[in-house]
Symmetry: C2
Subunit: 216 residues, 2 copies
């Protein structure tokens, strides 16, 4: 009696208000929206999918969609906040003795588990960014800028300088982001066959002595 399974599941739901059903429901809705969006974007394309359609697929109203994500682009990069948190932590963990660029490189290698966790989503993001100008623009202006901000903050701390005055943190971060962009493009074009982290690692290795304190 397979129907039983559902019954049990239904009965399993505590009819009494559980302490944080709200939080659970919210994160479920959020995950549903991200999943629905990813599937629709993958199947149909980015411009071709409306926010209403995504909301319908996740069984919420369009109004609710915009309570969870500020823009249509944001739902495609639903992993961003989490990833930036991990990047920040990875950067903080690097020993002070490391040279700036080496610290960035090592921190990104530490994100390997994140990359694997979101592998399919990353491939989709890269593919859509290569196809749709709106996605490309969002990636540059919001996602990559987010990464850059974290890197700049970490490097400014390390070098003990004000990043508004000393251009070096932003320059190193810009070079690193360029390397990451190249690696991501190569990875996407090869549909994820080479290891992503290895590609980034190799691209970052092409950044020369940049960031040595000896240049001060």
């Amino acid at each position: 009696m397979p129907a039983r399974v559902d019954d049990v599941a239904l009965l399993d739901v505590d009819p009494r208000p559980t302490r944080n059903r709200r939080a659970a429901k919210k994160s479920k809705t959020r995950a549903d929206l991200i999943a629905a969006a990813a599937e629709l974007f993958g199947d149909i394309g980015y411009d071709e999918v409306t926010t209403t359609r995504i909301a319908d697929a996740a069984d919420v109203s369009q109004r609710t969609f915009f309570r969870y994500f500020p823009t249509k682009e944001a739902v495609l990069y639903g992993d961003m906040d989490e990833t930036l948190d991990e990047l920040r932590i990875a950067l903080e963990r690097r020993p002070e003795t490391e040279r700036p660029l080496e610290a960035v490189r090592a921190a990104i290698v530490d994100l390997r588990s994140n990359f694997e966790r979101h592998r399919d989503l990353r491939l989709l993001q890269a593919r859509l960014a290569a196809t749709y100008p709106a996605v490309s623009a969002y990636s540059r202006a919001t996602v990559q800028m987010g990464w850059e901000r974290e890197i700049i903050a970490a490097l400014a701390d390390r070098l003990m300088v004000d990043p508004m005055e000393d251009p070096r943190p932003e320059i190193i971060a810009g070079a690193a982001m360029s390397a990451i962009r190249v690696a991501t493009r190569q990875w996407s074009l090869q549909r994820g066959t080479p290891d992503y982290v290895d590609l980034i690692d190799a691209a970052l290795a092409a950044v020369p002595s940049l960031g040595d304190d000896t240049t001060t």
Copy 2:
């Protein structure tokens, strides 16, 4: 009789179809839109001005506005195509013997006349980009990406490499763009008092040996 002046001006208009009245009218409309937009943006703000309002101020319909500019942001950066052309030419003029980053630096110094020509517009762009996320995003995703593309193409030519394979052109370009961004921010915050080109020059000087062929 000051009225005469107008009469003469009116009579001066050749009633016969001049060979390129169209082209003249088009460039006038374009210039009018840019000027009207700049004034409104400067007085009221970016989000606060609608495209219809800009079109009205330039005495055209909103539909016509969008025949001249693909987006509202584009009219604020109406000098972009012209500037990118000048940047490309300046890069091509650099002798092959120059090291990559030095060529970029020198090419940008050569744009001094462009910067002076569009000084007020540049200050406005920088100010609005610091205030309105939409402008900031457009600046990053479209304007700065345009500069970067030119620099990458020039460096790839110089180094005789495929920029899709070798990450160095994009890395050097990314570092240079970061330096330019820092300089632009400083220039904008100081309301244009220090010379813009000098600031960029100084920021670019902070980019270390990056781009030496010796790193190959």
